[in-house]
């Protein structure tokens, strides 16, 4: 598995897209810091971008990589290698290189602008951790989609739809249901609904660590407990880990049964 991981990783590291992605974040980091000149404000702006862009890129990249390396995968399958190690290796290669681009791309400008001396370092590290989690989750979801669909166009379609659904449509439906059922106590429902979407979950996780969480606690006792204490933070991290494990587990299950 490690050999395949290494191969995929180096393959991607050599590819142009990894660099584009890396340079994009590098520029974004520098421009944001140049315009804001305040590390903690830049972190908030960055959060808005990361929770939308990272899932999109991870999904598209994951699907693209799977379809592109399909012939090579089939070649590997003919060798006496365990299937799980082939797919897990490829998956970790993609997710790893994307995460590395993200961390380095954003880390370098912030580091140069004196992040270590600023007290925003925890917010920033949380941002990077969340970004990495989102990459892992969405790359895994993308691999799942690609494995289930041999038709490239269909696969791409589903992948983009998945992103659109989780990033935009889900919140719309969520909002509608909150308004329709406004007569009922909604505290627990809205927290559960947040947990069910990794994009919302990451947003909440970052908001929790910012001062703004007091705004959320304004609403009622359940929110106050969730957003005002460490309970919410720990629960969010736990669910985020679940969100990472479940798609990977399904990916392995699927790959074992798949007929090529």
């Amino acid at each position: 598995m490690l050999k395949i991981l290494k191969y995929s990783f180096y393959d991607l590291m050599r590819s142009r897209w990894s660099y584009v992605y890396f340079v994009f974040y590098l520029l974004l980091g520098f421009v944001l810091l140049f315009l804001n000149n305040d590390v903690s404000k830049a972190v908030i702006t960055l959060m808005n971008l990361i929770i939308v862009l990272v899932p999109l890129i991870a999904t598209i990249f994951g699907v693209m990589y799977y379809y592109n390396s399909k012939e090579f995968t089939e070649l590997l399958l003919a060798q006496p290698i365990k299937r799980t190690s082939i797919f897990l290796g490829q998956y970790l290669g993609v997710a790893g290189s994307l995460s590395l681009s993200l961390i380095l791309g954003l880390g370098i400008p912030f580091f140069l602008y004196g992040l270590l001396r600023s007290n925003a370092i925890w917010d920033f590290s949380l941002l990077l951790v969340t970004g990495t989690f989102l990459t892992l989750i969405f790359a895994a979801l993308a691999f799942n989609i690609a494995l289930s669909n041999d038709n490239k166009i269909k696969g791409f379609g589903y992948a983009v739809l998945l992103w659109l659904f989780l990033a935009v449509i889900y919140d719309g439906l969520f909002l509608m249901s909150l308004i329709v059922f406004e007569e009922y106590p909604l505290d627990n429902f809205s927290l559960v609904a947040t947990m069910l979407n990794p994009v919302d979950l990451s947003r909440t996780l970052i908001l929790l660590k910012l001062d703004i969480s007091a705004l959320l606690g304004y609403t009622g006792a359940v929110f106050k407990k969730f957003f005002g204490t460490n309970f919410g933070f720990i629960l969010s991290v736990f669910v985020l880990i679940l969100w990472t494990i479940i798609p990977i587990w399904r990916l392995l299950l699927k790959s074992r049964r798949k007929d090529f």
């Binding site: 990033a167 919140d171 909150l178 406004e182 809205s190 947040t194 001062d211 304004y218 609403t219």
Partner: protein, 408 residues
């Protein structure tokens, strides 16, 4: 100051006639009570450094209680310490500790009852229940005192400076911390509250009830349990105050309830959950205030008519203005909004497109508070944008027709 000056001069004039009685542990007069008993009208009690374990000291004649090097008056939690029932009393330079706590009577460190022309200054109060309690008093001054309480709960703590049925009082340059309400006014008119610092109090930094024609200016209210509450009062003027860091789930910078004809100018509201929460308040003029980094800068709860907001700075608030109805009778004119995205083609410093301070999201949050979990989500930005283009839900006449391009 000019109102108080004449009577100060009178006091000084009278002092010339009075004599000075020294109070110390080894003197013939070794307690405050004895001192008050032996003194004649307009005498001065010079209290030397030391600890005096006394309470229920009733000052019933015009005297000056002057402490030298902060003598300690320890009430040993027994009850009230100094009660002033006479006119023309001055208390200066005492250190009063351990006021008794009671659930049936409001024990104070210094209580002024139905007196005029008093002056309480340079007093330090610690471990108190109520601090300085003015009851039906008038024409007095509370100047440069330091009140440091140890309040934890609302029900068993008292207020720092309390005015009840008072008239023409000046409260200035006091520091009040860790009590229930820093400064509390009830039925008190013509009061000037100036340059006080009221911080870390359990409930309100300043609490106003049924008090008219008062001015408060240059005060700082920081990190109080709920901020400042101004209720059921008329003709209040608030200038150059700072309301800061009242940041908690149920906090606000200032709460206005049933306030009419007030003037609120040049104040700073910074990092409060709600900058100003307004309810049933009419004809208030808000000028040149700065609202910086609040959750909600202004939250209008309804029944607010004829208010005008002009030349204020709204900087980086999560929500600038929140309304709970579609009806609007308040005007916004010539403010600076950091969220404004319009342009200024004729370069006159005024944006060419009106600004709508009420976002759709803030309308939705008002209706269904739980939707706040969607704060900063992409979907919300999209619908906010579409509402901005064509308003459907938010009051369509609620807008700033002349938003400034630069910070005022």
């Amino acid at each position: 100051m000019t109102k108080i000056l004449p009577f100060l001069l009178v006091l000084i004039g009278l002092h010339a006639h009075g004599k000075t009685i020294e109070v110390c542990k080894s003197c013939p007069v070794n307690s405050l009570k004895e001192g008050v008993a032996t003194a004649m009208d307009y005498d001065t009690l010079l209290i030397q450094k030391g600890t005096y374990k006394e309470y229920n000291i009733v000052v019933d004649k015009p005297l000056t209680l002057l402490g030298k090097n902060y003598p300690i008056i320890d009430g040993e939690d027994q009850g009230e310490i100094i009660t002033i029932t006479s006119d023309d009393v001055t208390v200066d330079g005492l250190f009063i500790i351990n006021v008794g706590t009671s659930y049936t009577s409001d024990y104070a460190a210094i209580r002024v009852v139905k007196s005029a022309n008093f002056l309480i200054q340079n007093v330090v109060l610690e471990k108190l229940f109520f601090g300085i309690y003015l009851e039906k008093a008038k024409d007095g001054k509370v100047y440069h005192n330091k009140i440091i309480g140890d309040a934890v709960e609302e029900f068993n703590s008292g207020n720092g400076i309390q005015l009840w049925y008072c008239n023409n009082i000046e409260v200035s340059r006091n520091i009040v911390q860790h009590v229930r309400d820093g400064i509390y006014l009830e039925f008190s008119d013509n009061v000037l509250i100036e340059n006080n610092i009221s911080t870390n109090n359990v409930r309100y930094g300043l609490h106003f009830m049924f008090s008219n024609n008062d001015i408060y200016q240059g005060n700082t209210f920081e990190n109080n349990g709920a901020g400042v509450a101004v209720m059921f009062s008329k003709q209040i003027k608030m200038y150059h105050n700072t309301f800061k860091k009242n940041w908690g789930t149920a906090s606000f910078g200032m709460l206005l309830k049933e306030i009419n004809d007030a003037e609120i100018a040049n104040n700073i509201f910074e990092e409060n959950t709600v900058g100003i929460s307004i309810e049933g308040s009419n004809r208030i003029e808000y000028r040149q205030n700065d609202f910086v980094s609040n959750g909600w800068a202004i939250k209008v709860r309804g029944a607010c008519y004829g208010n005008s907001f002009s030349e204020n700075n709204f900087l980086y608030n999560s929500f600038d203005v929140s309304y709970n109805s579609k009806l609007n009778d308040n005007t916004f004119d010539g403010n600076f909004w950091s969220d404004y995205t319009g342009y200024d083609l004729d370069k006159n410093g005024i944006g060419d497109v009106p600004y709508r301070p009420v976002k759709l999201f803030s309308y939705i949050v008002n209706r269904t508070p739980e939707t706040i979990v969607l704060l900063r989500s992409l979907f919300m930005d999209i619908i906010d944008f579409s509402e901005k283009v064509s308003p459907v839900f938010t009051p369509d006449n609620l807008m700033d027709n002349a938003p400034k391009m630069k910070k005022i």
